[in-house]
């Protein structure tokens, strides 16, 4: 089994308004895995990602990086919305993380163009975000997260707002990218099918307060493609995940 990358131990997160987003939340993230967080709306998935990224502080408990802090400086984050800068072209949006690291635009250009090619947007490099479709904006956002070649990629329901065709396509793209770059991915989703298709492991969460209720391994090798959706393992795992999720949901919870 691969090494532990991040360890979350008895995490509690309480907001100033008294909302307890996470309580006694523990999980390990292993190096190189594709981990999905699956749970109803409001169970603290986004909060967990923000804590891991260091964008918010825990109220109690600890987040440790047993393999050393080096991975910590190499995090890519794809937010629930594309969050692009409307005043900057696609190139300049993707350039931002490198600019903040002190690279000049000319130095960064090969990497920017490579990453744009990877997400299939090389032809749209000079365009402004408002001229892109929702799926294309999301791909720019993914390119921006990948351009620093992070060791850890955090994705917060990146495809929730997209149609199924685009979503399936981007699912395959993400798997391809993960193989190519060998990144560790933590992927937040509402969708049982998406989580099974993508993940090597799924953590099912429940709300009020946010906590782990089940952990499901997806015993299928990568690379995966559409054929995987027709296998028995896929169907079985979907059923198990779905049961765990609905078992975790109270009557008034929403997916």
């Amino acid at each position: 089994m691969s090494r532990t990358l991040i360890s979350l131990v008895h995490i509690r997160k309480e907001f100033a308004n008294g909302t307890v987003a996470l309580d006694d939340f523990s999980m390990d993230v292993r190096e190189g895995e594709f981990l999905s967080l699956l749970g109803p709306s409001g169970c603290g998935k986004s909060t967990a990602l923000r804590l891991i990224a260091g964008l918010a502080d825990v109220s109690a408990g600890a987040i440790t990086w047993p393999s050393g802090g080096s991975a910590r400086s190499g995090i890519g984050f794809v937010f629930q919305e594309p969050t692009l800068m409307p005043w900057a072209s696609v190139i300049d949006n993707v350039y931002l993380p490198l600019k903040l690291k002190g690279l000049s635009r000319t130095e960064a250009m090969p990497r920017i163009m490579d990453t744009l090619a990877l997400v299939g947007l090389a032809d749209f490099a000079k365009v402004y975000p408002r001229e892109l479709s929702g799926g294309m904006k999301m791909r720019v956002s993914i390119a921006r997260a990948l351009v620093t070649e992070p060791k850890l990629l955090l994705m917060d329901e990146p495809f929730a707002a997209l149609d199924e065709i685009t979503r399936f396509k981007l699912n395959d793209d993400i798997l391809r990218l993960k193989e190519a770059r060998n990144v560790t991915v933590i992927f937040v989703t509402h969708s049982v099918y998406e989580s099974v298709y993508l993940s090597s492991r799924i953590i099912v969460m429940a709300a009020r307060p946010g906590r782990v209720v089940a952990e499901i391994a997806v015993d299928a090798p990568y690379p995966r493609n559409e054929d995987f959706r027709a296998t028995a393992i896929y169907t079985e795992t979907c059923k198990a995940a779905s049961q765990a999720l609905h078992g975790a949901m109270a009557a008034h919870d929403h997916l």
Partner: protein, 265 residues
Amino acid sequence: MRSLAQTGAAARFGLPLLLAAAILGWWEWGVWYYSIPPYSLPSPSGIIAALIRDWPVLSVSLWVTLQTTLAGMALAFAGGVALGVLLGMVKTAENMLFPYAVVLQVTPIIAIAPILLIYFPAPTVVLLTAFLVTYFPVLSNTITGMRSTDRGLEALFDLYGANAWRRITLLKLKTALPYILTGFRIGGPLALIGAVVAEIAAGTAGAGSGLAYRIIESTYRLNVPRAFAALLLLSIMGIIIFYTIVFISHLMLKDWHESAMQKER
């Protein structure tokens, strides 16, 4: 066949010009038909004639007013943005200073001008009042702009460990730009009003020789065509200031901001 753009331009410039021509024609005809003397109401042609005849005097006044207005405006733009950035970033600074900015704004400028004239020479007062009326819209719009940053982008800058300077220049000021330009668009024409108010307050007592001073002086001498000519110059100046700002802000926003976009359907 005429394109859509041509029809748009005709409606945009043609119609106001047509209206102006109609009103001016009626005015010219009325003055001639009722034989109104120029010291009561000069005709449009009489005003133009006065403008040409008095150009040596009026051009000097135009230059004086233009210079002080632009100087006051530039100071207010720079000062308003600089202070706005500070107050937008540091809450305690806003709590401390903003009330004073409001006091300066709500006190009628026409009442401040005579008092300033006790302490400063007339040209300085003209500059100061132009500044005083202009800075506030710039300041308050800048503060709002600095506070309007997208939280997701803010988190992104956190993630990559951006320092305060980077955050201001690459994120906050960019977000604030449309707000700041709105402040300029409101404040710019006010600078001219401020300058004129101060020139009037200084009156003949002032050493000033701006356009507003010319208007007062001309009315005292019943040289009404000249007063109208000076007024015309003031309007033209206001129009040019306003549209220059509109044009520059359009150039700065045209690639990305909705307000500067052609609507497509």
